[in-house]
């Protein structure tokens, strides 16, 4: 029995990315690094959205082995894209329900309530929601699939300070609702420290450092990058 996410992946293409990662169930890994380091590419490769070579295993499920991989839609992943990636033609409820295996409006409303969106907000389309509300819907949608792995791509990037704090708290709270291993991409160590148990520092498409200590150690490469 393999626990959590095991990852050894290489992606060619415009930006070559390679990574070896292990994330345990219930654990959150902060993927930190300068912009352009390939963090989003790595997330997309794990989710199966871009071609990659290597191994991705979640629990006992092998999503990718060598060049062979499951198509993205068969990987039970909860992905929060940059900006949310909500469907503009569906209201918040519809956005959550589209990701459910079996359509269940009550369960979807409960998820929206968990991210602090009420019934009125559930009936609004993305264009009628604020940036922070859109991210909440995206979080609820990611949970709706009952994912085996949660991937959050800069969920706090597009919102201002107070909203950001609330969202960070919400993401921390998601750990209660889902025990799936989580990778959260951020370039803000403060955010990362509030949520993550461990971290990986990515530069130029490679993980140069990883482990729980990276978050706290000012002498780590990450620490020096942040301070320098």
């Amino acid at each position: 029995m393999v626990e959590g996410l095991t990852l050894a992946l290489t992606q060619a293409g415009p930006l070559a990315v390679s990574a070896d990662l292990h994330v345990l169930p219930g654990q959150t890994l902060a993927l930190v690094g300068p912009s352009g380091a390939g963090k989003t590419s790595l997330l997309n490769a794990i989710a199966g959205l871009v071609p990659a070579v290597g191994r991705v295993q979640v629990g006992d499920d092998v999503w990718q082995d060598g060049r062979q991989g499951l198509p993205a839609w068969r990987r039970r992943v909860g992905l929060v894209m940059q900006g949310g990636g909500l469907f503009p033609h569906l209201d918040a409820l519809g956005n959550v329900m589209i990701a459910q295996g079996r359509r269940d409006a009550d369960a979807a409303l409960a998820l929206l309530a968990a991210v602090q969106l009420d019934g009125a907000a559930a009936r609004r389309r993305p264009a009628q929601l604020s940036g922070g509300e859109q991210m909440r819907v995206a979080l609820a949608r990611a949970l709706a699939r009952e994912p085996a792995l949660l991937l959050l791509d800069e969920p706090f990037a597009a919102v201002d300070r107070p909203v950001r704090r609330a969202l960070v708290a919400l993401v921390a709270q998601m750990r209660v609702m889902s025990a799936a291993p989580m990778i959260i991409v951020t370039h803000d160590l403060e955010d990362a420290a509030g949520i993550a148990d461990t971290a990986a520092f990515m530069v130029d498409g490679r993980i140069v450092e990883q482990g729980p200590h990276v978050l706290a150690d000012p002498e780590s490469q990450l620490g020096r990058w942040l301070n320098g």
Binding site: A72, W73, L79, M81, F87, H89, I98, R145
Partner: protein, 221 residues
């Protein structure tokens, strides 16, 4: 209004409606494929699809007249299938109409599917939607306004189309003598009153039909 007017009107509406209906699935499939494929031959294919707009109607009409003749492969296949003839029949002008309206229906569809964007397609597959479900629940509803625009353009253009139907139709009342052809014939026969009556009818029907289609498109979109 006289019977001949109504016959021509009914024929034109049937031709325009059938053209739009037949082009819709073609525009959906071809438009989606062109918007998402990375096939290197795509620019050439897109240019070829514009050909009916680039060539004068008489050239397209002559090519179709020759291609649909009873001794051509197309004509023979049609005869084997239906026992009838393609040239000088409703099916023949419908085929011609579908071909010349291809760019009007497909181009807006390509733009519409392109506008959906890779991000939303990725979001759809990361939500667990299979390609066919993603197509039905994300691509199609988002591209609908473009598809409706294409269908309306094809419908309107067919009502007013003249050159190609003149070349391949043979002006048979109730079969290939469309409204615009009938107007032209009346003018040539010095029947100005009849021509003007039909022209007003054509303008009124076209504007009404297209307005209704736009209304329908907006409600659905």
């Amino acid at each position: 209004m006289i019977d001949a007017d109504l016959t021509a009107l009914r024929l034109s509406l049937a031709l325009a409606g059938a053209t739009a209906l037949m082009l819709l699935p073609v525009a959906v499939l071809l438009g989606h494929w062109l918007a998402t494929t990375r096939w290197p031959g795509k620019p050439l294919l897109e240019a070829l699809l514009l050909l009916p707009l680039l060539l004068p109607p008489t050239v397209v009409g002559l090519a179709l007249l020759i291609a649909m003749g009873p001794d051509t492969p197309v004509g023979r296949a049609w005869a084997a299938l239906t026992g009838g003839r393609l040239v000088f029949s409703f099916a023949g002008i419908l085929l011609a109409s579908v071909l010349i309206n291809l760019p009007l229906a497909v181009q807006p569809a390509v733009q519409a599917f392109r506008g959906v964007g890779d991000d939303l397609r990725r979001a759809a597959s990361s939500c667990g939607l299979s390609p066919s479900r993603a197509f039905a629940r994300v691509d199609l509803p988002l591209a609908w306004p473009g598809l409706a625009t294409g269908a309306v353009l094809a419908f309107a253009h067919t009502l007013g189309e003249f050159g190609v139907v003149l070349m391949v139709g043979g002006a048979i009342p109730g079969e290939t003598a469309t409204l615009s052809l009938t107007i032209y014939d009346r003018v040539q026969a010095f029947d100005m009153a009849g021509a003007v009556r039909l022209a007003v009818l054509l303008a009124g029907v076209s504007v009404t039909a297209v307005a209704l289609l736009f209304l329908l498109g907006r409600k659905r979109g």
